[in-house]
């Protein structure tokens, strides 16, 4: 290396994508650089000119425009531009001019192409948007996949299945022969629709129970039963199963919650295997697991409140161990749900059994399994249609207050919008809820749209799940056929927009203004979630989680091919940035919030965030176009 080029080489080597290059490649660039000075206000790239060089800003500042003259980006020292054109037809598509005195290092196309060929990271970096977000999201996924690994991956073989008429001894032989530790017990019929399936000959069977090694001890030998006893007489009626697309983590929590060591894995109603606690022990992490069991061991709301610091500690540990946003969101939601469930159990202990069946519903981020460490509570009560306000409401009001106060004490602050079961409006029988939802979709007003965006993320966490399912079905059936509602929701989803990107220590707005910090929820994740919800409503998806909604959306023609992947990567990255900055807040003894300050954003994160904002911006533009206001309505 010629020492005289160190000046150039060392400068470039500080900035992505050059920071990851081998010394040899860095030398090759420095050797070939061409330099030019541009005074403030002068053009660097002119639209449609031929471009055969990559531009690197050695000093100064540059603005890049869209064809229509709209500001596309503002760049500073160490940034590059022009790669978009080099990868395509070598015509300038984004003109650029110097907004300060600027020194540009031009890197000839031949060198640029060599870099793309020889260094994958460099190639990923310069290919716009998708790959960088994808790489960032994939790297996070790689590092720890307990939350995204589906439980079906741990199923290695078909379950041992025995008819309920078989003798205990016969079953014991079969289990031993298969070197298994449990067998599923089945019988003919379909009285239990949840577990009914057809075999290859078309015969209908249903799973009626499971018999494990330890059952032989406790239910057969200890009871002194004969080896000839029919197995159907021995098994318990309580069957805990898990769906094959649930995560390993959920399976673990299900085992813990129900105190079982074997879990039949179902594909819809059909059993596909049995997992044992030992199968998932290698996935075990301390995060969440002990905390959840601890939650269920608490006997008072005060005891639960003392666990709040543990939640924050588990959060920090998960992020440090490389969890991705879905894992963190799901874990925090599970923890939040556990708090709520335990509070409901305690409330029922104190108040007595409920006078009519009810379902405790959560909304917002907890329903989506996307909870963050900075969160309030959104919940509601769906009561049985037998509900009589005069007789029963006192009980449910007390129940709601117990849970709501308890959650507040545990760090889930009261909802500012009063979306809580303590609010009589949100403590109603099912038929009233159905009417609410129908009205909101038929005649959207600003207030109803706001309600829709909160309540249309909904999940049951305690009681009669079927009530929430009925509402989910109602939405999935009605929303796709309500163009006016979709158009209104789409417009509502455009109220919050992303910034353009970063410039030095500022956040850059589209009009060129600077800000010192950015609320990443308000300007990133929330508008993204809003946008995904609109598409999910349009395609009748019943999924609540934004990533699962995107999956459903990608199976339709609503978005162009590949767009839902892009959105998914962008959302993952936005969520993760927010999470990382909350961890920084916690580590520095600050109250975590949703703000990030540009000076705390690393270079590589800046570029990826900028891409994510761009993806969101494009998706918002498309949303308006995709869900136009129906014309007959406009005529009125």
């Amino acid at each position: 290396m010629d020492v005289e080029l160190l000046e150039i080489r060392q400068h470039m080597g500080q900035f992505p994508p050059f920071d990851g290059l081998s010394d040899e490649l860095l030398d090759a660039i420095a050797e070939q650089v061409e330099v030019r000075y541009f005074k403030t206000g002068s053009d660097i790239l002119v639209l449609n000119d031929t471009l055969n060089e990559l531009c690197f800003i050695r000093s100064g500042a540059v603005e890049v425009y869209r064809r229509q003259g709209e500001l596309y980006n503002r760049l500073g020292e160490g940034d590059i531009f022009g790669h978009f054109s080099l990868l395509r037809n070598h015509k300038v598509r984004f003109p650029a001019s110097a907004i300060e005195d600027t020194l540009i290092y031009f890197i000839p196309n031949a060198v640029f192409q060599r870099l793309c060929e020889e260094d994958d990271d460099f190639a990923d970096f310069v290919e716009l948007e998708r790959p960088r977000l994808e790489t960032a999201a994939e790297q996070q996924k790689k590092s720890n996949d307990m939350m995204v690994t589906r439980i079906r991956k741990l199923v290695t073989r078909y379950p041992v299945m025995v008819e309920s008429t078989a003798s205990v001894q016969e079953v014991a032989k079969q289990i031993s022969g298969a070197q298994a530790s449990a067998a599923l017990v089945i019988d003919e019929g379909s009285s239990n629709p949840r577990y009914s399936f057809q075999d290859s000959e078309g015969k209908t069977w249903q799973v009626c129970g499971i018999l494990t090694d330890s059952d032989f001890r406790t239910r057969v030998v200890a009871e002194g039963l004969s080896p000839q006893t029919a197995i159907g007489d021995v098994i318990s009626e309580r069957l805990i199963t898990i769906q094959s697309d649930s995560s390993v983590y959920e399976a673990m929590l299900t085992m813990l919650r129900n105190n079982v060591h074997h879990l039949p894995v179902m594909y819809r109603q059909r059993p596909v295997g049995v997992v044992h606690l030992s199968d998932i022990i290698r996935y075990e992490t301390q995060s969440g697991l002990y905390l959840v069991s601890n939650i269920f061991n608490q006997s008072s709301a005060q005891g639960l409140a003392k666990l709040a610091p543990d939640v924050r500690a588990a959060f920090v540990r998960m992020v440090q161990e490389g969890a991705n946003s879905q894992m963190v969101g799901s874990a925090l939601s599970t923890i939040g749900r556990s708090f709520t469930r335990r509070l409901l159990e305690l409330a029922e202990e104190a108040l007595g059994p409920p006078p009519v069946p009810y379902c405790f519903m959560v909304n917002g981020s907890m329903a989506r399994n996307e909870q963050s460490i900075v969160t309030d509570q959104d919940n509601a009560l769906i009561l049985s249609d037998d509900f009589n306000p005069d007789e029963h409401d006192e009980y449910f009001h007390a129940l709601a207050a117990f849970v709501s106060d308890g959650l507040d004490a545990c760090g889930y602050t009261y909802c500012k919008g009063d979306v809580m079961a303590t609010n009589r409006q949100w403590r109603q029988p099912l038929h009233v809820w159905k009417r609410y939802f129908q009205d909101w979709m038929a005649n959207p007003t600003p207030e109803r749209l706001l309600h829709s965006s909160i309540f249309f993320d909904l999940d049951s966490i305690y009681g009669e799940d079927i009530f929430v399912e009925a509402l989910q079905d109602l939405i999935a059936q009605t929303a796709p056929k309500s163009p006016l509602f979709l158009a209104a929701m789409a417009r509502n989803a455009l109220n919050r927009t992303p910034p353009l990107g970063f410039f030095r220590t500022f956040v850059m707005e589209k009009d060129g203004k600077h800000n010192n910090s950015i609320n990443l929820k308000r300007r990133g994740t929330a508008p993204m979630v809003d946008l995904i919800r609109v598409h999910a409503l349009a395609c009748g998806s019943k999924a609540q989680n934004s990533f699962q909604r995107l999956n459903d959306i990608s199976n339709t023609q609503l978005l162009a091919a590949g767009v839902s992947d892009k959105l998914s990567y962008a959302l993952e990255f936005l969520c993760m940035s927010r999470i990382r900055h909350q961890v920084i807040d916690l580590q520095e003894d600050r109250i975590p919030d949703n703000n990030i300050e540009p000076e705390n954003v690393e270079d590589s994160e800046r570029h990826t965030l900028k891409d994510a904002f761009q993806v969101l911006n494009n998706a918002q533009k498309f949303l308006k176009f995709r869900y136009p206001i129906p014309t007959q309505r406009q005529g009125r």
Binding site: V33, V35, K39, D101, L103
Partner: protein, 241 residues
């Protein structure tokens, strides 16, 4: 110092005549090739002039007592400074190196011990300079040192027109009415050294006192000066000296 005098009339040297005359009389082959290569005419717009930035590190400031240690050159135009065409030589000074100058330009005894005499690189140097207008920052080093060194080795010296970025800077900051008024008021003069001048145009600070880095820095400075105070159409004769 108590009156504001009118600016002195700058007398334009007749470089064309001088170069043609030298081409006629020169004996050394390399020098003959150099003087044979015509320079752009004085009326050529600066935007069309091929240039070469030149910088030398020396053991001191007096060409009679000190010697050249290294030479850096970068051919360029107002459009581009292509680093691929840069050249850089370390040469063995005919006079011993003193410790103070080592600290200054970071070239060590061992580097110099293995370096050739200027005579061995002179042909290559003249080839790069030929046909290009030489740009320096402070011509009173490069011009006399090169002339003296060539004279000592080839028996005849070498002089040619140069653009001096320092004197262009001086025109702005030392010779204007405003500058003389400032001086009359007793204000310290604006620095016209390379780094201070670059700073005024928003150019980054480079690690100084390396002949090639300084040559590059000089080329960038000229581009900046041209874009602020002149145009690509400014004729060469308004700039050279």
């Amino acid at each position: 110092m108590f009156e504001i005098r009118p600016r002195k009339k700058v007398v334009q040297a007749n470089w064309e005549g001088y170069m043609a005359e030298r081409a006629q009389r020169v004996h050394d082959d390399a020098l003959k090739r150099f003087f044979d290569m015509p320079l752009p005419s004085p009326d050529t717009p600066i935007g069309k002039v091929p240039m070469v930035a030149l910088d030398m590190e020396t053991t001191g400031l007096d060409e009679r007592r000190h010697a050249i240690v290294s030479i850096g050159v970068v051919p360029f135009t107002l459009d581009r400074i292509p680093l691929a065409q840069r050249r850089y030589w370390v040469v063995k000074p005919s006079r011993p190196l003193d410790e103070a100058s080592i600290a200054y330009h970071h070239i060590t005894h061992s580097e110099i011990a293995n370096a050739p005499d200027l005579d061995a690189v002179l042909d290559e140097l003249l080839e790069v300079l030929a046909g290009r207008l030489v740009v320096v920052h402070f011509r009173n080093i490069e011009r006399p040192f090169l002339d003296a060194a060539v004279k000592a080795r080839r028996g005849e010296g070498v002089l040619f027109p140069m653009i001096d970025t320092m004197s262009l800077e001086a025109r702005m900051h030392r010779q204007t009415l405003w500058a003389r008024f400032r001086r009359w008021l007793g204000r310290p003069p604006v620095s016209i050294r390379l780094n201070a001048s670059r700073e005024r145009y928003g150019l980054p600070a480079y690690q100084g006192h390396h002949a090639l880095v300084d040559a590059l820095a000089t080329a960038e400075l000229l581009q900046a000066q041209m874009s602020y105070h002149y145009t690509p159409e400014t004729p060469l004769k308004a700039l050279w000296c």
